[in-house]
């Protein structure tokens, strides 16, 4: 018999406002929980703070971001003019691009993609006419979406959408255009309505 029966448990002699206290042993599993967490503390501290065996937060995230950059570089899609024109005639690419545009672009460029030409309150310019502000060649459109034009409100989409979705969005925009159509560069004049 390792434990005394219930009614033989040691009870403290004193009572407080009628409250009595047993003085039972601490449960072993409870004690071991405490000890294990203390041991864990010493091991964890030794590993990260004493031996510096593991990377700290900034080191780890920089390693991981570098690995991501490598994957990106290895998987770059073709973003030259010819390839993008080819994509714009491919229904699968255009459909995918339409979805990308619908969730990310229409807030400023509107669903029609006509932007300021349709409503003065729209933030983005018209994308379906033949005038362009920052260049109308497919590769130029691709670069512009990737880098953005912060002062005018075009966000940097590269890290948000990734190369694949940006090329799809370009394909969708180009599906409103014809290869060889005129490209008229009109530098932005945002004060006057609508610079396309």
């Amino acid at each position: 018999m390792t434990r005394p029966p219930e009614d033989e448990d040691p009870i403290r002699p004193h009572s407080f406002d009628g409250i009595q206290e047993y003085d039972k042993r601490l449960p072993n599993w409870w004690l071991f929980t405490l000890y294990i967490t203390i041991v864990f503390w010493t091991c964890y501290w030794s590993y990260y703070q004493w031996f510096h065996a593991g990377p700290d937060g900034p080191q780890r995230v920089e390693q991981q971001m570098a690995a991501i950059e490598a994957v990106k570089l290895a998987a770059s899609p073709a973003t030259d003019d010819a390839s993008l024109w080819k994509m714009s005639r491919n229904p699968t690419f255009v459909e995918a691009g339409k979805a990308v545009v619908a969730t990310n672009c229409v807030v400023c460029h509107l669903a029609s993609l006509k932007g300021k030409d349709e409503a003065i309150t729209a933030i983005g310019p018209n994308l379906v006419d033949t005038t362009w502000i920052h260049g109308g060649k497919p590769s130029e459109i691709y670069d512009l979406i990737t880098k953005g034009v912060l002062v005018k409100g075009m966000p940097t989409w590269g890290p948000v959408l990734g190369q694949k979705r940006i090329s799809e969005a370009v394909a969708y925009i180009l599906s409103f255009h014809q290869e060889g159509e005129p490209i008229e560069i009109v530098p932005a004049a945002p004060a006057t309505p609508p610079a396309p």
Binding site: E6, I11, R12, H14, F16, D17, G18, I19, Q20, E21, Y22, D23, K24, R25, L26, P27, W30, L31, T33, L34, T37, I38, F40, W41, Y44, W45, Y48, Q49, W50, D56, G57, P58, R60, V61, Q64, M65, I68, V71, K72, A75, T103, N104, V107, I120, T121, I123, L150, K152, G153, P155, T156, P159, V160, L161, G162, Q163, K164, R165, P190, A191
Partner: protein, 771 residues
Amino acid sequence: MRDRKVTIEFNDQVVRYFMLASVIWAAVGMLVGVLIASQLNYWRLNFNLPWLTFGRLRPLHTNAVIFAFVGNMMFAGVYYSTQRLVKARLASNFLSWLHFWGWQAIIVAAAITLPLGFSRGKEYAELIWPINIAVALIWVTFAVNFFWTLARRREPSLYVAIWFYIATILTVAMLYIVNHLSIPTGWLHSYPVFAGVQDALVQWWYGHNAVAFFLTTPILGIMYYFLPKAAERPVYSYRLSVVHFWSLVFVYIWAGPHHLLNTALPGWLQSLGMTFSLMLWAPSWGGMLNGLLTLRGAWHKLRTDPVLKFFAAAVTFYGMATFEGPLLSIKSVNALGHYTDWIIGHVHAGALGWNGFMAAGMIYWMLPRLWNKPLHSVSLANLHFWTGTVGILLYVAAMWTSGITQGVMLSATTDNGTVLAYPNFLDTLNTIRPMMLMRVIGGGLFLVGWFMLIYNVIRTLSGAQAVNGSIEVHEEPVPATKPLSLVGAFFNPPVFFSVFGVAFACAWMFGASLVSIGGLVGLITTGVLAFTHFGSRGHAWADWYDRLLVTCLPFSILTFIAVAAGGLIQIIPTVIANQAASVEDRREIPYTPLELAGRDIYVREGCYNCHSQMIRTLVPDVLRYGDYSRLGESIYDHPFQWGSKRTGPDLARVGGKYPDVWHYRHMENPRSISVGSNMPNYPWLLADPLDLSSMPSKISVQRMLGVPYPNWTPEQITERVQTQAKGIADSLKKDGVTVAPDREIIAVISYLQKLGKFEKVEATAVVTSAK
């Protein structure tokens, strides 16, 4: 030998008042909670009114529940039980009533100032400085009244509940004062003395331990009195009380940095926060065990007795929440759960389950005794229990699901891990909307249960006569044990082993090579010696502790040393560390006067309740928000605004991401830009003129606090504000928005466009552990 007896009448009137105040403020606090939970689903419930927006009401909800509901409940329980446990009436009627009315006045002042936007911008520490001073004074009133009562006790030895009350009073005073150190800029506004990482550390040392020493330790004390009383069973284990009390109060304080895991907080503090949180698991469960196992032999009473039902469920929820806490403190779990609803679910398991049910059980127990009339309806109390339980379970389950879902979506990537799967933050928000609705239902059910309690209280009280408890005591009490002298209290094996153990552990953790190795050797030696000594002379430790319990002052001093240690070791190195050495490679550019004015509006509107300004060292954060935040990027932020919840996206690098007109339209109506957003409209920012009258005093306080502003005259400040404001108004005009340059929106835009701007500095030193 004389053995005359005298009768003492307890001051139960103040207990009744505190109890009824708690009942009322609970309803208010929870009503606000249900409203703001609904606002998250239906933005129209913000009513386009400044004082009804989420950002201003959420602080009202948290402050009301913590300080008004649990505060009053705690005072009722502490005063009721202490008088009986020490066999003495409360020392001073005047102090008791000053305490009561002072506390209610503070609550009313908070309920007025918070919706009006007067805020310090730190969570659970939003109240403005004049109210802070009032809180400190009333807390001291409470302390004096309490310790004076102890000094007049006729029961020599201190029961475990009293230990917890002592720890509560001392620690809350320490936390509250340090975290509220501020320099006023006027009657209603101040800047905290700490900035950036220092402010973050102090804030969460306070925030975490407000949970520990305002919502946990006093309630554990209350549990140790009311639970064995209601169960009519002895407490399960006295030695468990001793071990879990001391380990709890010592370890709790260290765990604050777990609110700042994976942030710019130095790594050594993060490691401390995580490991000490894990070590907190067993001490917390010691309290749960002592509560639940005390019910052994009384479980059959749970069938009929609502009081015991509430207590048993409350202690169970306590155990659940204190298991979840360490779990969430593991860095990798925290990476997923932090900033999400999981945390909201965690705190509500504590607030509704532990605090709410302990309060209900205590109120149902005291009510018949304080008015000498049976409870109006036991079955209604049972219905309250089941309604409340279902409410909590719905609430917590909804928040777990919501938090984990959103956490997983926010970190999901595609294209071989190179791009976010859900780049639009709103996709993740709109996925969890059903869960947020279920939370409203769960919280609503809990509130319905509380209204049942209110009805029961009203019906029980009608026609009832208040009675005060009394007790017969010997006129001249004789101490049962010889008290310890001050020297005897501190110079003895248990204290020596504890002090040397902590000192060696610190030497090991923070010392340079040889000191560190010596510390480790010393730590192990101390541990072995302590075990050996306890094994052979354990009864001497027990005798010493019995004698310590009859001496209030040494006991209180030892408690204070135990709770102060962790804070001192974490905060002092961070505060005195050379700022230049801790900026890493970047230093924040100080705000222009206009940007500072915009920042004050950001704080006023409580934007930090939904938006963080801290990009963690985690890939999903970096992919979504940009390069991770550095320490130096917030060194001039009084107060820091790192945030603790992302109902909306992080704003640390939002500056320059969108044009001015984007922000204008977004503040006017967020849904015009971000379809599906649940952010309130801020039409008053577009209409109200910016108040510049306090700018000179604000800038001079910032200078005093070390922000490198030149010594501008008020005219120079105004001129700078006007020049910058005109630039923004012009840029808006180009995009078709005409707004006067003196409106608040201009300042807000200037602030938002500045976020994330820093200058490169030479890396002078690498941040290492505290030296």
